[in-house]
């Protein structure tokens, strides 16, 4: 692996409220990787990004970027000397400078003029260059912030919640543009987001932080299908955490501390309704319908099996009524 960034046992405690923001964080990032860091608010994801950028100093641990130790015992490289740039949540465009001045503000940015011109063309902001940040839209500000961050040709691009300031419609468009831009420049990216959909869409690897601890690092598909604990399973959408002993035919299971037993995570769409006439050779789960709610493209049905309650998603065209008995089988990838 062509390793670009390596974190070893990074820990950070905030003095003010004595909160352990990060505890022994270790992971690696290869050149060309796009890693999404996800977690609920207060999980430490922004702190981790700020530590990598050099805006916070960790209490313990080492960071190696491009084979140079930038944090470690007695070592701290100031942010301006690190070969990485950060795109802030609120874009942090200098309000007293035009778009052009913002883009060329970075150290040695003028030396990368041809590359910057190409990025300006690609992001369609050429006609905005003479405007000031307050004179352009949120989506345009986002593109300017990205070009500005790339203008210094950083080895690592850090994105702090880059899509959170955008409304729903604009977000999908910008997300697509961002993905294309990253692909075009071949940047190595660490992106912090609380939106698991954005995380899976953008990244080839996802890192889940939970209360300052790395719970899982894997590909988006693996994280979604094979979570290592209940927190990760729940973070990526609705799921049923059920005793493993009732589903011994499933391969993937994990230990749940709260329940003190092995459990499986089965997502609502993984339950398939068995038509009364058809026969299925797979193990079946039977239960009584407790409630039915329409969620647009599908129905969310609550089932009482007698042992536990399930949430399943079925096609909206199915006729499902409460107090009726239904049978399901599980189709997991």
């Amino acid at each position: 692996m062509n390793e670009l960034l390596k974190l070893q046992n990074i820990s950070k405690t905030f003095r003010k409220n004595n909160i352990d923001a990060l505890k022994n964080i270790s992971f690696e990032c290869a050149k060309g990787d796009v890693i999404s860091i996800v977690g609920s608010s207060g999980s430490g994801k922004s702190t981790l990004l700020r530590i990598i950028a050099g805006l916070e100093i960790p209490d313990e641990g080492e960071i190696i970027l491009e084979k140079n130790k930038i944090n470690g015992s007695g070592i701290y490289l100031a942010p301006e000397k690190r070969n990485c740039s950060l795109v802030f949540q609120d874009f942090a465009l200098f309000p007293n400078m035009s778009v052009k001045e913002n883009i060329f503000f970075g150290k040695n940015a003028s030396k990368n003029k041809s590359m910057i011109d190409e990025l300006i063309e690609f992001t369609r902001i050429k006609n905005l260059l003479e405007r000031f940040p307050h004179e352009i839209s949120g989506g345009q500000q986002q593109r300017v912030a990205l070009v500005r961050a790339l203008s210094i040709n950083p080895a690592l691009l850090l994105l702090d919640e880059p899509l959170s300031h955008l409304d729903h419609e604009l977000k999908h468009q910008v997300r697509n543009e961002l993905k294309n831009l990253i692909k075009k420049v071949g940047a190595t990216v660490l992106m912090v987001t609380h939106d698991t959909e954005d995380a899976m869409y953008m990244a080839n690897k996802v890192l889940v932080l939970n209360n300052g601890v790395v719970d899982q690092v894997d590909s988006p598909a693996s994280i979604f299908n094979f979570p290592l604990n209940s927190y990760v399973a729940g973070l990526f959408g609705k799921t049923n955490i059920l005793p493993f002993k009732d589903f011994p035919f499933l391969d993937h299971h994990f230990f749940d501390k709260d329940r003190n037993e092995d459990v499986v995570s089965i997502r609502p769409h993984e339950f398939k309704l068995i038509d009364g006439n058809s026969s299925v050779e797979k193990p079946q789960i039977k239960g009584r319908v407790v409630s039915v709610d329409s969620l647009g493209p599908f129905l969310e049905v609550s089932i009482d099996t007698g042992k536990f309650e399930l949430i399943v998603h079925v096609d909206r065209n199915q006729k499902i009524e409460t107090d009726h008995d239904l049978s399901f089988y599980i189709e997991k990838k």
Binding site: R15, N18, G54, D59, P79, A92, N96, F105, K107, R148
Partner: protein, 545 residues
């Protein structure tokens, strides 16, 4: 391992981080500058143990009097300023009435009049009570007359000081009332509270931190006053320090009095900090600020005008008109009483000092915020302590400090303008640091992170990001310091070079020689000079809303 041991190691870890990672040219220079500015105050604190031969005499005879008088003045002035400031701020920020717009703006004008000049303007007010005093002497006894006379002196001094100091509370309270969410008050009204109850139960408790901050400014100014208390003959700590030092020639005694005074000031500051610790309660309200004011009917409108006009007339109109009438009487002597040199001395000194103070404040605040340094933050706190310490005390600290420099370097600083500018820096650095800190925090903190992330140097960030974005804040800070310095008396009086006259010292000198009428000319010049930046600041404050 015991968790408390881990906790106690944290400050050490932070100090280690500061030494290892935040030591650079900027932080070292800022630390040295901050400590240098704190040095004169440190000198006084260090001299606390020294014993004056007169101390037991001072303790037995005057210490209690100084304490009692200072306490009465501080308590009385704070109380009346509170009534003037809060009532006018509440009326202006909540109600629409005739002349409300003009009054909103005019209520700041008393700040242009220093306490000692207001005292001169009312120099003969006590004579009005002579018939009453004579009646009491003839019909009761001489002790009762003496008691009444003393009470009147206190009352008049307190009223005069309050009428020029209340704008500190008015400005902060008005701002707090305007920022308060309309929704909260509407919610209180829907729960059955009337306007009066809303004020006492919602608005006033929410504005408490701002009001307490204003009161603490009034307290500091009252303790700092020398001219007014000397004029009305009330011995306080500040006048006692002057008397012990210059009258009795006992520097150590003056130093001990200063130490006692600093102790009380720090006690007050600690109480203020505790009272303000709930400011989060006030700041965390993000609802819409007050938009529409309540329109008052004719009778209520007249009452509101009267309420706002009373402190304005007492603190600005009467002093100004009296000074103007006296100036008219002494107009023939104008060229002898006010010279161009005197005006240029005042202006030059204030401008040079203001620029120096703003530049130093910018360096200290920027370095502390840019490097997020606890050490610089701490040294900045020490360097800005001077604002809460009376000028006379700072003067003693500075003379002690320069005596040591003189002894070591053979370079005589005493009586030089450099020393006076340094004294102003020690006293007024906080006035500039406060707005600059707020300006950088609001406008530049996140942009500085962006600038660092783009590889820019500290100097580039300061020059291209911070200075352009807080340009107006720097001007405001400079003007605030300018206003304070041009009115300043005790420091200038003690530390000015021989034969160096400013408008404030000329006013004081003339009034000390019982030439109150003649003193009106330099006093009026000073007020005119202060009014220009004050009106401009007021205009900007209005526009920024």
């Amino acid at each position: 391992m015991d968790i408390s041991i881990l906790k106690s190691l944290k400050p050490l870890r932070i100090l280690k981080q500061e030494l290892l990672f935040k030591l650079n040219g900027w932080t070292v220079v800022s630390l040295l500058v901050g400590l240098f500015i704190f040095f004169p105050i440190g000198e006084i604190l260090l001299s606390m143990n020294s014993q004056s031969s007169n101390w037991s005499h001072l303790k037995e005879t005057v210490l209690f009097t100084y304490f009692l008088n200072s306490f009465i003045l501080v308590f009385g002035t704070a109380f009346i300023s509170l009534i003037f400031g809060v009532s006018s701020a509440w009326l202006i920020s909540n109600y629409q009435f005739k002349y409300g717009k003009i009054l909103e703006w005019a209520l700041v004008l008393p700040l242009a009049i220093p306490t000692y000049i207001a005292a001169y303007a009312y120099f003969d007010i006590l004579e009005l009570f002579n018939p009453l005093l004579v009646w009491v002497r003839n019909n009761i006894n001489i002790e009762a007359m003496q008691l009444l006379n003393d009470s009147l002196v206190y009352f008049v001094t307190i009223l005069v000081m309050s009428s020029v100091l209340f704008p500190y509370i008015y400005l902060l309270a008005r701002s707090a009332f305007l920022k308060q969410g309309k929704q909260l008050r509407d919610a209180a009204k829907t729960l059955g509270y009337n306007e009066k109850s809303v004020f006492w139960k919602i608005a006033l408790p929410m504005a408490r931190p701002a009001i307490i901050a204003g009161v603490s400014l009034v307290v500091m100014e009252t303790l700092n006053d020398y001219g007014a208390v000397k004029h009305f003959g009330i011995p306080t700590f500040t006048s006692g320090i002057f008397r012990t030092w210059l009258g009795m020639g006992d520097l150590v005694g003056a130093l001990q009095l200063s130490a006692v005074l600093i102790f009380f000031i720090f006690l007050l500051l600690a109480l203020e900090k505790q009272a303000r610790s709930r400011s989060k309660y006030h700041d965390s309200l993000h609802s819409k600020p007050m938009s529409k004011k309540i329109i008052l009917n004719k009778n209520k409108s007249t009452a509101a005008i009267a309420c706002c006009l009373t402190p304005l007339i007492l603190g600005f109109v009467i002093p100004l008109f009296r000074l103007m009438s006296w100036a008219w009487i002494s107009r023939d002597k104008a060229s002898a009483l006010v010279s161009i040199e005197m005006i240029s001395n005042s202006l030059g000194l204030s401008i040079i000092s203001s620029i120096s103070i703003v530049l130093i404040a910018l360096l200290l605040v920027f370095t502390s915020r840019y490097f997020n340094s606890y050490v610089i933050n701490f040294s900045n706190r020490l360097a800005t302590l001077g604002y809460s310490i009376p000028g006379a005390v700072i003067a003693i600290g500075i003379l002690l400090f320069t005596a040591q420099i003189n002894a070591v370097t053979n370079f005589v600083l005493t009586g030089s303008l450099v020393l006076l500018v340094f004294a102003y820096i020690v006293r007024y650095l906080a006035v500039a640091c406060q707005p600059i800190n707020a300006g950088i925090e609001t406008n530049c903190d996140s942009l500085n992170n962006a600038s660092k992330s783009l590889g820019s140097s500290t100097y580039t960030s300061l020059r291209l990001v911070n200075i352009p974005l807080i340009k107006n804040t720097l001007i405001t800070a400079g003007l605030l310091v300018f206003i304070d310095i041009i009115k300043e008396l005790p420091l200038t009086l003690i530390l000015r070079p021989f034969n160096f006259e400013t408008l404030s010292t000329a006013t004081f000198d003339l009034s000390s020689q019982a030439q109150i009428i003649e003193a009106s000319l330099p006093a009026l010049c000073m007020i005119a000079v202060v009014l220009v930046p004050l009106v401009y600041l007021n205009y900007r404050l209005d526009n920024s809303r």
